[in-house]
């Protein structure tokens, strides 16, 4: 049926028109034509009315929807004024327009019955409803294709921000949004809380709280709403370790730990807020899980007026997820009980896994940080070292090497694959050892040694003397029938004297060797050198004697006797025997081209110890990220450290004052970070640091900064849009596979959900849940489902209490009007505002003709009665 044509709602009843001719015959034949026609018309009209004749036509009727914000964020004056102006606004609108009213208020608007009747519809919604909600409702009140307009009287502060779709819908329909700006109250308020980074058990957490006020002195307090944290995520398993030791890490503030409903976790100083301020609040969670907190802003004087209800600007409920401790793989060596000590020192922020020698080392992908503590290179298998390098470089694993006498250089790490990752060079000094030697050269200068032989003997002597160092001793005994010290035993440094003595030697005389050997023996016996040698150079034409007894005695006294047969040709068994008895060697110097190298000693080298015992004064550097605040002026002196040298590009936080050797250094290596501490963290070298109350916290902070940036290689974002919940996971590295997700139900049991891949490396999990439920999730990498990260989405997280909305983040009313083709005006101009309409692409209305048919039928009835009663021509009786 087309528009503008008349249509019938019950067309089947038109069949009754076929019965109309019966009027002329029943119950009696009708002769009065006029009456018959009138009666036919009458019944015909009634039948038409029964069939429901209607006409759909284009209508000029306008639909006006007024939205009146009477919420607590609007000043009392403007609320009253806008309500009072309603009547004038209605009067200014075109007559006959269809008017509806939506009031944002917690109580119905007070109106007279007459004013209420002027509206076709009056709805009241809670003042905590968002402007998006009421704009959608307003749009719904205007039928499709009709002309209309929406007029919004509000301060623009909306509890929900997603008004885009509603405004776009109005624009698409051509419906203008007229806006009237009301004034909002300027009470102090908390407008936002930012949590940078991850909150982890045992580590300091920082909340950045945004507060806004015209001018107010405020103190912020953070309360725990749970008597104790709920342990979530691993049923039947302890999520973290509690530390009963007071460690001063909380900067003197109470960190909770005992059951108390309203325990203060953190408190700020009193601050003067003029405009907007960002206030940090720090606290250290003691257990992993989901934490319910309450944030309050107290005005000056301790007043919490206005802070009683969650809807006030000065109180906010928070739900936060506290992650599991950092997983630390402890590989210790020399120090007994090192891991226990370390665990106690670091507290609940670290979960230590220790591997004893011989045990399989856990997969590094399940760890955030590896600590090699005073362990030698040989104790760590080479394949593991290679794996460690790969894990640090390509996977972002953190590595810390610490220790004393069994680590770094002394531990033999210099040539290991790990060494190149360290921010320090491993210094290891070696000492070359050249032991002292005393040499007595006995030269045969008998007549048989004449000619070339004596020359050869001198050459061999010179060669032997040349190897000696200044701390060695040398003497020359000649025998030619008698014995004689050509050069008495003296330092080899007196080379000139010795050479002269050698040069003076000349062959001549007899050969009596034995006394010369005795002389040499007596000369060497009292000399204090490491080695003692006697070198006999002869042509072997010597006398016999009790040489064996003498030489054996000499060798027992540490004096070795070697012999050199000088001259060509023959072999001398006698000289061989002398060398045997004297535990020396036999040489043969047959000519100047075959002069023997007489070995008198073997130089050696040994490692000097790199561990420096203390006390060692320290010098500090580095920023508050390492130190957790202002850097201390000084620290107690160390009791020992391992000497090392800084590599260029590394950051040195602690060094020795005297020589500038690095004690604590760190740098980025590949995707990971490597830190070195050249002393035992819990051993004798750092014993003095026990007196420093901040030691545990400092070490924890250093290790935390060294550890992997994130346990699960995805960045997760959770959000709500009404009933729809979605969690997006963005892979931070390549090849990490899929993420996994579980939602915790009311009984804290994990229920698996699914991520769907939406783009390479991007995953989405989406489901529908009521806005009034807080949602808790566990997220992981699918390959390692036991390594989970917590995530919480508070109930109504897409809404903010009205009194906590940042005025700068409200709806820009003027811009909203501009975007939709409406007008933006103030209260003062509202009285004569006519609210021009728009849209009306196909404004339809229905005209019902049935009543008109009935009116016509009534007139016809009256006419028919008149016809029956009108006087006629007189008739004869």
């Amino acid at each position: 049926m087309s528009i503008l044509a008349i249509t019938f709602l019950r067309p089947e009843l038109l069949l009754l028109l076929l019965l109309l001719p019966l009027l002329w015959f029943l119950p009696r034949r009708l002769e009065d034509l006029g009456q018959g026609l009138l009666r036919t018309l009458l019944f015909g009209l009634l039948i038409l009315a029964l069939a429901g004749p209607v006409q759909i036509h284009e209508s000029a009727v306008e639909h006006q929807v007024l939205i009146l914000d009477q919420g607590p964020s609007v000043t009392d004056g403007d609320r009253q004024a806008s309500a009072d102006l309603l009547r004038q606004v209605l009067s200014s609108m075109r007559k006959g327009s269809h008017k509806s009213l939506i009031v944002l208020a917690d109580d119905p608007l007070s109106m007279t019955a007459k004013d209420r009747r002027r509206f076709a519809r009056v709805q009241t919604v809670s003042s905590s409803s968002s402007l998006a909600t009421v704009l959608e409702q307003a749009s719904r009140l205007i039928p499709e294709g009709s002309k209309g307009a929406v007029t919004l009287m509000s301060d623009g502060l909306s509890t929900g921000r997603e008004w885009g779709a509603a405004l776009q819908a109005l624009t698409a329909r051509g419906l203008p949004l007229h806006t009237v700006a009301l004034t909002s109250v300027s009470t102090p308020r908390i407008t936002g809380v930012e949590i940078p980074g991850v909150i982890r058990v045992g580590h300091k957490a920082v909340l950045h709280v945004r507060v806004r006020a015209r001018q107010a002195r405020l103190r912020l307090k953070l309360y725990s709403r749970d008597p104790e944290l709920q342990k979530r995520g691993r049923p039947g398993e302890v999520a973290g370790r509690s530390d009963g030791r007071s460690d001063g890490r909380s900067d003197g503030r109470s960190d909770g730990g005992s059951a108390s409903e309203q325990q203060v976790l953190a408190m700020s100083e009193e601050i003067l807020v003029q405009g907007e301020s960002l206030v940090p609040l720090e606290f250290t969670p003691k257990e992993a899980g989901f934490l319910q907190l309450e944030l309050r802003a107290e005005t000056s004087g301790g007043s919490t007026v206005g802070a009683r209800s969650p809807g006030s600007g000065l109180r906010r409920d928070l739900s936060i997820a506290v992650q599991d401790p950092i997983r630390l793989l402890y590989l210790g060596g020399r120090l007994q009980g090192g891991s226990e000590e370390m665990s106690k020192l670091l507290g609940p922020g670290f979960a230590l896994t220790e591997t004893s020698q011989g045990e399989a080392i856990p997969d590094l992908e399940s760890m955030d940080l590896v600590l090699l503590d005073d362990v030698g290179e040989k104790q760590i298998p080479a394949p593991f070292q290679e794996r460690l390098v790969q894990a640090v470089t390509r996977e972002g694993l953190g590595l810390c090497m610490s220790g004393g006498r069994n680590s770094f250089g002394p531990g033999g790490w210099q040539k290991s694959p790990v060494a190149k990752m360290l921010p320090v060079d491993l210094a290891q000094k070696e000492e070359k050892k050249d032991p002292s030697t005393a040499l007595a050269i006995i030269i045969d200068t008998s007549g048989s040694m004449g000619g070339n032989r004596i020359i050869l003997a001198k050459e061999v002597s010179r060669l032997a003397i040349r190897r000696l160092l200044p701390h060695d001793k040398v003497g020359i005994v000649e025998f030619y029938g008698t014995k004689h010290w050509a050069a008495p035993l003296q330092s080899a440094a007196n080379a000139i004297e010795i050479q002269r003595a050698l040069n003076r030697l000349d062959a001549g005389g007899g050969t009596i060797l034995f006394p010369a050997v005795q002389e040499a023996y007596y000369g060497l016996r009292n000399v204090q050198t490491r080695y003692k040698h006697v070198l006999i150079l002869t042509d072997a034409g010597v006398e016999s004697g009790p040489y064996e007894q003498l030489l054996r005695k000499m060798s027992r006294d540490g004096i070795r006797v070697s012999t050199v047969l000088v001259g060509p040709g023959r072999h001398s068994e006698f000289l061989v025997e002398l060398a045997d008895w004297g535990k020396g060697r036999y040489y043969n110097a047959s000519d100047r081209f075959n002069l023997p190298e007489v070995l008198l000693k073997q130089p050696s080298s040994s490692r000097l110890p790199a561990y420096r015992p203390g006390p060692i004064e320290l010098e500090l550097s580095g920023g508050p990220g390492w130190w957790g605040g202002p850097r201390p002026e000084t620290l107690p002196a160390l009791d020992g450290y391992v000497e090392a040298r800084v590599r260029q590009g590394s950051e040195v936080l602690i060094k020795t004052r005297s020589e500038g050797h690095p004690v604590l250094a760190s740098w980025r290596y590949g995707l990971g970070r490597v830190t070195t501490l050249t002393t035992e963290p819990v051993g004798p070298g750092s014993r003095s640091l026990d007196s420093w109350s901040g030691y545990g916290a400092f070490l924890g902070r250093v290790l935390a900064r060294t550890a992997r940036d994130r346990s699960v290689p995805f960045r997760f974002e959770a959000r709500r849009q009404g009933a729809r919940v979605e969690i997006q996971a963005l892979a931070q590295e390549r090849g990490v596979g899929r993420p996994a997700i579980w939602r915790l139900d009311a009984d804290d049991q994990p229920v698996a959900l699914r991520f769907h891949e939406t783009a390479p490396g991007t995953f989405l999990c989406r489901f529908t849940a009521s806005e009034s439920a807080a949602l808790r999730f566990l997220l992981a990498q699918a390959r390692f489902p036991e390594l989970r990260q917590r995530l919480v989405l508070a109930q109504d997280s897409d809404r903010q209490p009205e009194m906590q909305i940042d005025p700068d983040a409200g709806l820009d009313l003027a811009r909203a009007s501009l975007a939709t083709g409406g007008e933006h005006l103030g209260l003062a101009s509202l009285e004569s505002f006519t609210a021009p309409t728009g849209g009306g692409t196909r404004p339809l209305a229905l005209r019902d003709y049935a009543p008109w048919a009935l009116l016509l039928a009534l007139l016809v009835l009256l006419l028919e009665i008149l016809w029956r009663r009108l006087p006629s021509r007189p008739q004869a009786l």
Partner: protein, 571 residues
């Protein structure tokens, strides 16, 4: 009760007028009729009746008068169009699925079913809403049901995912937020869907119910469903390339030919890797050229594109670096495949001087000692949020300052304390970034941090307004963090006014600067456990049209009157 056509005073005035008219007519003498009589005993009456020249008679036959008056009043009441009490005791919303996918019936069948339903319901308190790309009220409360068909014409299921669950959720929230004093029970009747998420249904307010209207016959699901269409920077590392993920679900288990891609109208010849996961075909195309072209997906031999996505235009930025800057900075810039160091005509400049000549500039302030990254941006509060998100994830505030108060020899001044680096964002007319040159020095660990190369990569692209294109653009969803106004395919400029832009349906959307987005109809991927809705059980109050009954009564009365008049029993 109310009167639609007449005001009450006018109606009441009409009654005595009618009565008087009828009285006057009733006083008129009845016309004579020739009648044969069998006796002359009626002469007296005959003489009485035959009295000449008398127009009126005395009032006689009061019952007849009353009967005629009753009929007249019925007709008069009918004309005033009375209605029964119009204050509804409950609200009924009929929500009709307007999304293209998962249509359980044809629009014509749905219309017929809804019209039948409307005939059983009073017009007050009930509305019919079409839930397509946006909600359309096809029948407002109190409107005649006949308007429905006229407004329903030309409505076709739209390229948008189903929003019924979200709408039910929103209505539930609105119901909860309505003060009890003014709240009416809310009944939702869904047309075109059988199930809703169980969790949602279990948390409905007590005075709210959801039922479904059975509609026959059923149509089949779409042959091929586009589950996912998204892109990401190429895993090969090539700057001007992207990888594309395509996931398809086919309703019929037939040998499927791989999907066909066209880039700016030309076929894409790259062969994707393929695997099947949970019945969904997954295709990964790698190293597609990122030149700002429209990529369309065709499947199943269809000539109509199943979806489309605009690939980003990833050009290499020309960067001019001032002489004398730290070598670490140069190393980082040279290692970025999306940057090229040039000596002239740069897209962006890095240096210590403040002369910008219009070229976007990253200023390394040699004099400043305050460890602050200062960003000047032009997009107001939403721009600030977007900026904080872009740079906040880098962890700039984790950079350590050893001590800002160092003297020339590097020794800390007494009483000084180390601080952490801050990020400061302010509004301005042009984008700029300012940071102290000292941040690249030994007093800070910025250069050693993981953030260092990432910061410059992001900063230079932000300065030149190179945006990271959204990886996925889906109809019926909002573009997180993007408040830009855009013009849709119908030429309507849609401005979210500071909120995230909403993509009502599949198609192209263009920004004022010419940037285009292509939204596709993608599977909503909602894995919520669903519950079957109970079928509608009408507690029929029937139509409130009294007019029909009054007319019928009047007709019957007039039939009786006619019979009485024609048989002479009534004058």
């Amino acid at each position: 009760m109310s009167l639609l056509a007449l005001s009450l005073p006018l109606f009441l005035l009409g009654i005595p007028v009618l009565a008087f008219l009828l009285f006057s007519l009733h006083r008129l003498r009845i016309r004579h009729q020739r009648m044969e009589v069998v006796t002359t005993l009626f002469w007296q009456e005959a003489i009485e009746e035959a009295r000449a020249r008398v127009l009126v008679q005395r009032f006689r036959h009061p019952l007849v008068y009353a009967f005629l008056l009753l009929i007249s009043l019925l007709l008069w009441s009918g004309f005033s169009d009375p209605r029964l009490a119009s204050d509804p005791k409950a609200q009924s919303l009929i929500l009709v699925e307007g999304a293209r996918v998962h249509q359980g019936s044809t629009p014509e069948d749905a219309l017929a079913a809804v019209q039948d339903l409307l005939s059983e319901m009073p017009s007050e308190g009930r509305s019919v809403i079409w839930c397509g790309a946006r909600e359309r009220t096809l029948l407002a409360s109190g409107e005649h049901a006949a308007l429905l068909e006229a407004r329903w014409q030309k409505l076709e299921p739209q390229a948008t995912p189903s929003h019924l669950a979200a709408i039910v959720g929103r209505l539930a929230r609105q119901q909860r937020e309505t003060p009890l004093a003014t709240r009416l029970p809310l009944h939702l009747i869904l047309v075109g869907t059988e199930t809703l998420p169980k969790d949602l249904l279990s948390r409905l307010p007590r005075d709210m119910s959801v039922q479904r209207l059975e509609v026959e016959p059923r149509s089949t699901r779409a042959a091929i469903e586009l589950v996912a269409l998204g892109m990401a920077p190429a895993s090969s590392g090539a700057w001007n390339r992207v990888d594309l993920l395509l996931r398809l679900r086919a309703a019929l288990a037939n040998p499927k030919s791989p999907p066909r891609l066209e880039l700016a109208g030309s076929p894409v010849t790259a062969s994707p890797s393929h695997r099947v996961e949970d019945g969904v075909d997954r295709y990964l195309f790698t190293d597609l050229p990122a030149e700002g072209q429209l990529l369309q997906v065709f499947a199943g031999g269809s000539k109509m594109a199943l979806g489309s996505i605009l690939l980003p235009k990833r050009r290499v930025l020309q960067v001019q670096v001032e002489e004398g800057l730290p070598p670490e900075l140069l190393a980082v810039l040279e290692a970025d495949p999306g940057l090229r160091l040039v000596d002239s005509r740069p897209d962006v400049r890095i240096g210590t001087s403040t002369v910008t000549d219009g070229v976007p500039h990253l200023w390394l302030d040699p004099k400043s000692r305050e460890p602050v990254f200062r960003f000047t941006q032009t997009e107001g509060s939403r721009g600030e949020t977007s900026l904080r998100r872009r740079f906040g994830s880098l962890g700039l505030d984790g950079i350590d300052a050893e001590d800002p108060d160092v003297d020339g020899a590097g020794a800390a001044k007494s009483g000084s304390q180390g601080v952490q680096v801050r990020v400061d964002i302010r509004d301005g007319s042009r984008r700029s970034i300012q940071m102290p040159l000292a941040l690249l020095g030994h007093g800070y660990n910025f250069v050693q941090s993981r953030v260092f190369p990432l910061f410059f990569a992001q900063a230079l692209r932000w300065l030149t307004a190179v945006e990271e294109a959204p990886r996925r653009v889906a109809a019926g969803e909002i573009l997180r963090g993007d408040p830009s106004a855009r013009t849709d395919a119908q030429g309507v400029r849609l401005d979210p006014v500071g909120a995230s832009f909403y993509l009502p349906r599949a198609g192209l959307y263009q920004r004022a600067d010419g940037a285009v987005l292509a939204a596709s109809l993608l599977s909503p991927m909602d894995d919520s456990e669903r519950a079957v809705l109970p079928p509608l059980q009408l507690d029929s109050a029937g139509s409130s049209s009294m007019l029909f009954w009054i007319t019928l009564l009047a007709l019957l009365a007039l039939v009786a009157e006619w019979i009485l008049v024609r048989t002479g029993r009534m004058p």
